[in-house]
Symmetry: C2
Subunit: 102 residues, 2 copies
C-alpha cells in the first residue's frame, strides 16, 4: 500500500434473502479486481450489514474498474438479485496511521 | 447524511484474544461520538477483521473527536489490550451513489 493520497471505494450493502451464487461471484470479482491497473487491496466484513472497501491508486483506475464488462454484469446481477440496498462512496485517503502490538 | 464532500474515518482492526470490556467500551464510544459536533453516522461489521467507519462534516470535527479525553482513554486501553493491529484512514468522501430495490 503506498503513502496517501490514494483512493478508497466504500461499498456498504444489505443483502436480500437470495444468496445463490453470491459468494462465488464475490470471489470472482475480487480476483478480477486484483488484475486491474491501480488495484491496491481490499478489506471486507459482514455482520448483518456488509462493508467492502477496495483501494486504488487513482480515480481513473476506479472509473475503469466500474466499467469493466464482467464487473458491469456482476453489478446488474447484484441489483436484480442480491442487494436490497447499497451505497457506494468514492473517497480520497488523505492521511493514515497504523498500530502493531509489539 | 449530507451531500459530499464530507469525511470518513475508516478504522480497520484485528483484535487480540482479550475481549473483556471491549463491547461495552465500543457501545459507550459510539454513544459519545453521536454527541460530538459534526458527527454524521457510523457503520460497523466484523468477520475476523473488524471495520468501523465513522462519518463527519469536517476534518476539524475528526481531530476534536480524536482528542476527546474519554476517547483518548479508550484508545489507550485499545492499544494495551484489545487490538493486535489497527489502521486508521482519514478520507474525504468525494462522490457517492445509492441503490434501493423497488
Amino acid at each position: 500500500m503506498p503513502q496517501p493520497p490514494y483512493y478508497a471505494v466504500i461499498f456498504t450493502n444489505q443483502q436480500t434473502s437470495d444468496t445463490e451464487g453470491y459468494s462465488e461471484m464475490a470471489d470472482a470479482m475480487e480476483q478480477l479486481a486484483q488484475q486491474q491497473p491501480g488495484y491496491l487491496g481490499m478489506e471486507h466484513a459482514r455482520e448483518g450489514l456488509a462493508i467492502t472497501i477496495s483501494y486504488w491508486e487513482t480515480l481513473q483506475d476506479i472509473a475503469r474498474w466500474k466499467e469493466n464488462l464482467d464487473h458491469l454484469q456482476a453489478q446488474k446481477l447484484g441489483r436484480d438479485r442480491w442487494y436490497q440496498w447499497y451505497k457506494t462512496r468514492i473517497c480520497k485517503v488523505e492521511r493514515e496511521y497504523e498500530f502493531h502490538k509489539s
